[in-house]
């Protein structure tokens, strides 16, 4: 009698290094997916220094922290954002949640499970670095998208992220988006280098090889910082800009890419 419940694709978007435009990219990707009629929720999983609400110009009165501590219901913390996407914001400067807590560990998997039944896409915008919280939230997602720029520090941190998740979480598949690339050859260079170092250093004989699939790149585009200042997705303010067109294409390739339901560890 009942309609078969949907099961969201859950994706953790992570970068290792901060300042690579991860949150902004996540927000715009979510916007593009929501625009096609998909039900999209971004969960701000940068629990210590959350700023997704700033980027998307939403003002939640309660956040993920109150949900996790049991002070409010899940629905109260979800607010509509631009383009029909939904946002589950976190509080910025919440030192308690910058590290792993028992509440977080126990409640987050339940929340994710509940939300998986309600959305087509759950995007976790993780914090920078490789803290317990970042690794934990990534372990709850089916797919991990690495955001890197052509800067050597970003490439190194992207590789470190893949290495840690591959060795400690047995994750075998990753996707890559190269952000702020001057042109396509430089984006492909990032992808090729990462792929070859992974093949050379992270394969351990009999086990399945680690795959890094290149999803595409977003060019370095002044429209992006302009949109951030206006606290509106670039997809809205400058839909014809190179960055917006690239993000549109990325959303399309995400839609066609096969979902890989492989969580690292289940609750």
């Amino acid at each position: 009698m009942s309609v078969a419940p949907t099961h969201a694709r859950t994706m953790a978007i992570t970068s290792g290094k901060g300042g690579v435009g991860k949150t902004c990219l996540t927000a715009n990707l979510a916007w593009a997916l929501a625009r096609t009629g998909r039900r999209v929720l971004i969960i701000d999983a940068d629990l210590g220094l959350a700023n997704l609400d700033i980027v998307l110009n939403v003002s939640p009165t309660v956040t993920l922290h109150e949900v996790i501590s049991g002070a409010c219901a899940l629905d109260d913390a979800i607010v509509p954002g631009p383009g029909g996407l939904h946002v589950l914001a976190a509080a910025s400067g919440a030192a308690d949640y910058a590290r792993m807590t028992t509440d977080l560990r126990e409640r987050l998997p339940e929340l994710v499970q509940t939300l998986e039944g309600r959305y087509d896409y759950l995007l976790f915008d993780t914090g920078a670095g490789l803290s317990d919280v970042v690794l934990y939230t990534a372990s709850l997602a089916q797919e991990v998208i690495i955001v890197a720029t052509p800067e050597p520090t970003s490439m190194t941190d992207a590789y470190a992220t893949i290495k840690v998740m591959a060795t400690t979480q047995q994750r075998r598949r990753f996707s890559l988006i190269v952000n702020q690339a001057p042109d396509e050859p430089q984006a492909l260079f990032v992808s090729n280098q990462l792929q070859s170092v992974i093949a050379r250093f992270l394969s351990d004989g009999g086990r399945a090889p680690i795959e890094l699939s290149y999803l595409g790149f977003v060019p370095d585009d002044p429209a992006m910082p302009r949109a951030i200042c206006r606290r509106t997705p670039v997809m809205e303010t400058a839909p014809a800009s190179p960055a917006a067109r690239a993000i549109q294409a990325l959303a399309q390739s995400l839609e066609t890419a096969e979902a890989t339901p492989t969580k690292a560890f289940s609750a």
Partner: protein
């Protein structure tokens, strides 16, 4: 007569609990418990004592006296839950006796049984009272170590390996043999909610590695977050001739 259970005691028990008291007492004596009847217990006290012995027996491995697989499962679930709440690390070590089939085939099953008993005792002697040791499979033992410092675990596992390998054991026919075992170690992770089966799977993978790398050794998961090596860093920025 007064020292034996009355007919009404037994009848009452059978009716209420479905326990055959005579059979239960036989099991208790066989397992080496002091005879509750000889101790002068009767009525309610006798019933309670017999039930407590039966409970203990149902969680034990009959041959070695350590916990059985069922008790191990229940303990691991409980300890994982506790570790998750208290943020204490929890380790699981799986041990498999090397070439156990050969021991059985060469010296006979009583010898194999003796080896299992000796190893169970040695492992138990080298663990803390709060740890749980269980016979997990035919020649496999599992040890749950709650609240153990992650950094010291490889040393603990190594000590357990040595307590088996470093001292020969004497079989019932007085033959002395050298037995070794392989150990796989996995510990709970601060960033993950672990299921018991996920932890067992990881320890089992390392047990397999210890076996395939030549036996009589310990295999552990890397204890620290792996850093990017200089070689990896160099390769990352090196332009190959084709790119």
């Amino acid at each position: 007569m007064s020292a034996t259970p009355t007919q009404s005691d037994e009848a009452h028990l059978t009716g209420v609990l479905g326990v055959d008291l005579t059979e239960a007492l036989r099991l208790a004596r066989q397992a080496g418990y002091p005879d509750p009847v000889a101790q002068g217990l009767k009525g309610q006290a006798l019933v309670e004592r017999v039930l407590s012995i039966l409970c203990e027996l149902s969680s034990q491995d009959g041959l070695t006296g350590v916990a059985n697989a069922r008790h191990f499962r229940a303990t691991l679930d409980r300890e994982l839950d506790r570790a998750g709440r208290t943020q204490e690390p929890l380790a699981l070590i799986l041990t498999d006796i090397d070439h156990f089939k050969t021991i059985n085939d060469t010296y006979g099953h009583p010898a194999g049984d003796q080896v299992l008993r000796v190893i169970a005792r040695r492992l138990k002697d080298n663990l803390r009272p709060m740890d749980t040791i269980a016979r997990y499979g035919g020649e496999e033992f599992a040890m749950i170590l709650p609240n153990s410092a992650v950094i010291s675990l490889p040393r603990v596992a190594e000590r357990l390996r040595q307590c088996i390998a470093n001292e020969p054991m004497t079989l019932p026919d007085r033959t002395t043999i050298q037995v070794t075992a392989s150990l796989g170690l996995a510990s709970s992770l601060p960033w993950a909610v672990l299921s018991a089966s996920a932890l067992v799977e990881r320890a089992d993978r390392h047990l397999y590695l210890a076996k395939s790398q030549g036996r009589n050794r310990v295999s552990c998961e890397p204890q620290t977050v792996p850093a990017v090596s200089t070689a990896e860093r160099t390769a990352l920025f090196q332009r190959s001739p084709t790119s």
